[in-house]
């Protein structure tokens, strides 16, 4: 055990960075923030708080957007000093490459440490900590081909709420026929509800005979602190970037059905709707250098972005196949294509410009209405129900007259509707609509949160998905590992709910 007084700490100030994260959730409160340098210090802190029954919140890099790292009381443990990356290694059995990193290491640091390999989880925000991405089961565009974080975790070193440290390797602990996992002297009864058959980051993981490691991945930090992570890597390869434009949104959506089954499978498939393209065109007209993109093909009201990998020998084949499916697609109006990095960066910048533009609109509105925020859905549904969900969302928001755009990970049937309220009445109206859309997603077998998690801001939607029975099952898992509910209070469950 490390003496607590030797661990770096400081008092939390008003407006401290550790009182808020990218969610901009107000009301963060804490007394002091600790900066453990390694897993021993982290474990000592957990044991210390356990003995004092002191609640605490773990802060990765503050990039989450559901308030999961916003403290409500007690202390904060920041993982930013736990930033060591080990050398690349290879699995003795399979030869597959993997990397071990402390949980405060950022995705950018992982990316720059690798030459021939890459970590395929790309949640866009590369300043996120690897630990943070594990506990939200982060995904992003590339989950279309590679799956979410869950698939890429080889092992976790977890500090449990009592301070004990456990290394959990995939394939070591499984739930028995009664749904019980025997682990660290405890019997954990895993939830019995059925998870949606689509990308999902809402609620604790559950499936018959499940692996214990999957319970911690996507757990939003309520069961233990991720101290160290081993991640699988993939070999790097070149890819061509494409944008296909269509005369209307539905034709763009229909093209995705073809693209999803194409060979080779794209790295990702992303969507931008008519209003999104309009917003970008207007921005470009005002300041052409801001987007650095030439005029779009005429009559384009929907766009699909995708990258396709190639080997040195088959770039022509990739181009031919892509050209063929585009030219045969109904309503296709034109394309952009880039294969050199400098040009691919332009297309990527253009793709990311829409969420940035929405944020700049919100900042403008905030001048008059400081508490305004955008309402961004994180809904995904099974592919067969995407059209229904998409049309329902467009019609429901459209009827209200609220300003909105939709864009995102259409390859995973997961697009973000961003409602942009112009005043407080519209904000309230938007919140009601958000609830209606969440209920519809669940009715269609989908999720209320495909990649951002529940945190503190989306708790009420979790119950829509799993019902009170499901919430109770999750709460029992929490209680088994953290009887006093000290760790990350307020994530997934109301702060006062402990039994």
């Amino acid at each position: 055990m490390v003496e607590i007084k030797t661990i770096q700490k400081r008092t939390v100030k008003a407006d401290d960075v550790y009182l808020c994260d990218e969610s901009k959730m107000p009301g963060g409160k804490a007394e002091e923030v600790f900066f453990p340098k390694n897993i021993e210090e982290l474990s000592s802190l957990a044991a210390h708080f356990y003995s004092l029954k002191k609640p605490y919140t773990v802060f990765g890099r503050g990039t989450g957007i559901t308030g999961a790292s916003v403290p409500l009381e007690g202390a904060v443990i920041s993982l930013e000093k736990m930033n060591k990356i080990n050398d690349l290694a290879h699995c003795k059995q399979t030869g597959k490459p993997f990397l071990k990193a402390e949980s405060g290491v950022t995705l950018t640091e992982i990316k720059t440490s690798l030459e021939r390999f890459f970590y395929p989880v790309d949640p866009t925000e590369m300043s996120a900590s690897i630990g943070g991405t594990v506990v939200t089961n982060a995904s992003g565009a590339c989950s279309f081909k590679y799956g979410a974080t869950r698939k890429w975790i080889k092992s976790l070193k977890i500090v449990l709420p009592d301070g004990s440290v456990e290394r959990i390797e995939r394939g070591k602990y499984f739930a028995d026929n009664e749904g019980i996992i025997h682990f660290s002297g405890k019997k954990i009864k895993v939830p019995q509800y059925k998870m949606p058959e689509c990308k999902n980051a809402a609620g604790l993981y559950s499936c018959p005979g499940m692996d214990l490691i999957d319970l911690f991945i996507g757990s939003e930090g309520i069961l233990g602190i991720v101290g160290e992570v081993e991640i699988w890597l993939e070999k790097k390869f070149p890819a061509v970037s494409f944008i296909a434009f269509f005369e209307d949104e539905q034709k763009a959506v229909d093209f995705v059905g073809i693209l999803r089954n194409s060979d080779p499978k794209p790295e990702f498939i992303e969507y931008v709707d008519r209003l999104g393209l309009k917003m970008l065109k207007e921005k470009s007209a005002q300041d052409p250098a801001s987007l650095n993109i030439p005029p779009l093909p005429e009559n384009s009201e929907g766009g699909i972005f995708f990258d396709t990998a190639y080997n040195e020998g088959n770039i022509i084949e990739v181009l031919e196949k892509t050209n063929e499916i585009m030219s045969q697609a109904t309503g296709f109006t034109g394309s952009f294509c880039a294969w050199e990095n400098i040009e691919k960066e332009r297309i990527k910048f253009f793709r990311h410009a829409l969420p940035e533009t929405v944020n700049s609109f919100i900042s403008e509105i905030k001048r008059e209405y400081p508490d305004i925020h955008k309402l961004g859905t994180d809904i995904a549904v099974p592919h067969e129900n995407f059209n229904e969900m998409n049309l329902f969302s467009k019609n429901t928001i459209g009827r209200s007259g609220l300003k909105f755009v939709s864009f995102g990970h259409i390859g995973d049937s997961h697009i973000h509707f961003n409602i942009i309220p112009q005043n407080y009445d519209e904000l309230e109206e938007g919140k009601k609509i958000y609830g209606i859309l969440a209920a519809k997603a669940v009715e269609l077998g989908g999720t209320v949160s495909a990649e951002h998690g529940i945190g503190k801001l989306k708790r009420k939607y979790l119950e829509i998905m799993y019902g009170s029975k499901g919430i109770e099952e999750m709460r029992k898992v929490k209680k088994c590992l953290d009887p006093e509910f000290l760790l990350n209070r307020g994530n997934m469950f109301e702060p006062g709910e402990r039994s």
Partner: protein, 266 residues
């Protein structure tokens, strides 16, 4: 009419670093791109082809290692009809003059295009010598820093060129060399069809024999200049700052300076 566009593969300048010891660019691991001024030249050629029906073919030429074919493919994706790569180990070490000679040989093999369009300079060496030297070697006039082309026929060309104190209209008979120093800041992005065409096109590769070069006029042997030493430039200027506290004093000082140094007739 055949038009040639001379293009060069250069390192990405937003990614390169300078070797502090040698003062040269560290090119290892740095992506190569089409020289932006050459891309402006290509844009001009493509717009001329659209505007005047007399251009039957645009050929992009470059001299470089085998990997330089990528800038020819980019040129085709952006509107060139074909690409010619002058590549031979004997070309290595060429200075501007030997490069201009080699490119001139290549141009001859392609039937002596009537109009040769070049970027005003490459962003790696910044010498701006090659277009003028090609004009000297090939015995044709050069129209530098062209902003616009007012007229193009089989016999002549009329252009607007940019000079230090404004613009000037120039006219000459063809064949001629034109250099381009500006263009649209928002670069074009080709379509999938354009890129496919670029990759399916055969690049014509000319070695010293096929290009008809004299051994003594190419590469290091044919280069009259030698780089003896490269030193990084350091800023030596003094800067006097004026802020809110002494703004008026600064304003007066700048006013006096401008009045004293104004050589224009008012």
């Amino acid at each position: 009419m055949k038009v040639a566009v001379l293009v060069k593969q250069v390192p990405r300048t937003d990614k390169i670093k300078i070797d502090k010891e040698s003062g040269t660019l560290i090119r290892k691991g740095v992506e190569s791109i089409l020289n932006p001024y050459c891309e402006y030249g290509l844009d001009l050629a493509v717009s001329l082809k659209k505007k005047y029906g007399i251009i039957e073919e645009i050929t992009a030429f470059t001299m470089g290692p085998p990997g330089a074919e990528l800038v020819l493919r980019r040129s085709i994706a952006l509107g060139a009809d074909k690409g010619v790569l002058l590549s031979d180990k004997a070309f290595s070490g060429a200075d501007c003059w030997a490069t201009a000679y080699t490119l001139s040989c290549g141009l001859k093999t392609m039937g002596n295009p009537k109009l040769i369009i070049c970027g005003k300079q490459a962003i790696d060496g910044d010498t701006a010598q090659v277009p003028g030297e090609i004009s000297e070697i090939s015995g044709m006039p050069v129209l530098p820093y062209v902003l616009d082309i007012l007229e193009l026929t089989e016999e002549k060309i009329v252009v607007v060129s940019e000079f230090e104190n404004g613009t000037v209209t120039l006219e000459t008979s063809l064949p001629a060399v034109v250099t381009v120093g500006s263009g649209s800041n928002i670069r074009r992005i080709p379509s999938v069809n354009d890129v496919l065409k670029a990759y399916e096109s055969e690049i014509v590769v000319l070695d010293k024999t096929k290009a008809g070069c004299n051994d003594t006029d190419i590469g290091l042997k044919g280069s009259p200049t030698r780089v003896v030493k490269i030193e990084p430039a350091f800023s030596k200027g003094d800067c006097e700052m004026f802020d809110d506290g002494n703004f008026n004093e600064g304003f007066e000082k700048i006013k006096v300076f401008l009045m004293e140094n104004n050589d224009e007739e008012n």
